[in-house]
Each structure stands twice: as C-alpha cells, then as structure tokens.
C-alpha cells in the first residue's frame, strides 16, 4: 500500500505503510531500549558535567546506526530475492540513507538555534513546537534543493 505526495514533477515522496510490517518485533524493542538508554545517558551526563557538555548529547546519532543497518538488511534481502548482489546494494542504500541524515542535521541545527534563542523569554511548549517545525521545514527545503540541483 503506497501513498504518494507529489513535490515536483521530477520527484515523489512515497509513504509505504506496509514497511512497518517488515520490521520484526525484536527490532522495535531494540530501538525502544536504545532510544530510552541514550535519552537517560544525555540526562545523566548533563547532571554530572553540566548543560554545556550535556547539550552535545541532545544531537547524539540515536537511531542512525540502527536505521542504517535495517535499511541495509532489508535492501539486501530484496535484491537477493531479485537475483542481484544483495550485500553491495544494501550498503549503497545505507549510504543514501546516511546522506539524507547528513542533510537532516541542518534541520537539527535550526531546532537547537530556535530553542537557544527564544526559550528563555517565551512559553516552552510554543518554542518546542516552533523548533520542531523549523527542523521539518529546514530539512525538507534542503532535501528539495539537493534533488533539484
């Protein structure tokens, strides 16, 4: 089942909901536990070393290793079923995912910039909402620009 969102004539963003079923239950558990542990670690580091060091860990690559590995594995299985070199294609897919994450870090910077500049004088929920919006818009814009160039 795929839902298509047309961005330009040259590219499409596809939401493939059936991809959720391809992820095994233990893979969800690993992500949940890893995400929880990294968030606890960020809090503990801030407690012992202060907010300047602790803040670095708000941008820790939390799900990136797991998601790149999953993409590699799923792409490998898909290509092997089709008779191609699964390992090479899987790693190429992980590389494209990593390039997307590198672009997304600019959105992460936009998120942090908004919180740093505006949180001290404004309502927390409003600033976190604006910052999340800034992450999404900056990431989307850069991805769209990169696709067009």
């Amino acid at each position: 089942m795929g839902h298509h969102f047309k961005v330009t004539d040259a590219m499409r963003i596809e939401a493939n909901l059936s991809a959720v079923k391809a992820v095994k239950p233990h893979e969800y558990v690993i992500r949940f536990v890893f995400g929880g542990l990294v968030t606890v670690m960020a809090g503990v580091i801030a407690k012992y070393y202060g907010p300047v060091i602790g803040g670095l860990f708000l941008a820790f690559p939390a799900i990136f290793p797991a998601s790149a590995t999953l993409i590699e594995k799923h792409e490998k299985q898909k290509k092997q079923r089709a008779g191609f070199d699964g390992a090479r294609r899987g790693r190429a897919a992980a590389s494209v995912d990593a390039a997307g994450a590198a672009l997304g870090t600019f959105g992460l910077m936009a998120f942090a910039l908004i919180v740093w500049q505006y949180l001290p004088a404004h309502r927390a929920w409003l600033i976190l909402l604006l910052a999340a919006l800034a992450w999404f818009v900056a990431s989307m814009l850069l991805w769209t620009l990169r696709k067009r160039i």
Binding site: N16, R31, G35, S67, I71, A98, A102
Partner: protein, 113 residues
C-alpha cells in the same frame, strides 16, 4: 529514579516514532532525514525545562548546535565510506561514533568552553 524512568520511556517512544517514519517514507534520502530528527531533544527538553528552568535548557540547546555539526561530519563520513568501500553499515556507524564525540568535544573546547 522516577525522572530517569520517565526519560527512558519518553526517549524510547519518541526515538521509535521517528524511526518508524524513517521506515515508511521513500526515497531513502528523504527517509534519512528522520535519522537526524530531534528525538532525544524532544524527549528530554520538556523534563529539563520543568526541573531546571528555561535558561538551563537554552544552554543545552546552544551546545546541541555543536552536537549537530558533529553529527553532520559523522553522517557525511559514514555515507562516503559506505559508498566508496561498501563495508557493513553497523560496523561503520558504530566505529565512527568516536568521530561524533571527538568533533563535538573539539567544538566545545574551541567555541563553547
């Protein structure tokens, strides 16, 4: 203890939610954007603001910019290595984590300290 448990639960739920978005969307370069989602920040900043206040959380956010620059270096090198030498993704993404930490700490020493 309750604070740590809440952080664990929020972190687990939010990181998992962004990971699912990354699974769903295609093309892969677009899905990759969710690999750099502000999941830990969203999970932890609410609690930090409630316990330590707005100024403390804003100081963390300033350092988060340096952490995101380090993430850019880390993800760019990982992407290049995977494309150039095709090593296993898990090995590359784990072995390069010290690069993220080193870059973040270098930025801290040069700019933030």
């Amino acid at each position: 203890m309750i604070d740590l448990l809440l952080r664990f639960l929020f972190g687990g739920v939010i990181v998992s939610a962004f990971a699912v978005l990354g699974d769903i969307f295609r093309p892969k370069s677009f899905a990759g954007l969710f690999g750099a989602a502000p999941s830990i920040a969203l999970a932890t900043l609410g609690l930090t603001i409630a316990h330590k206040g707005h100024i403390y959380a804003a100081i963390e956010a300033r350092s988060m910019i340096a952490g995101a620059v380090a993430f850019f270096v880390y993800a760019s090198v990982a992407s290049w290595l995977l494309m150039r030498f095709r090593p296993p993704a898990l090995a590359v993404t784990l072995v390069l984590l010290p690069l993220w930490l080193g870059t973040g700490l270098a930025l801290w020493a040069i700019i933030l300290r």
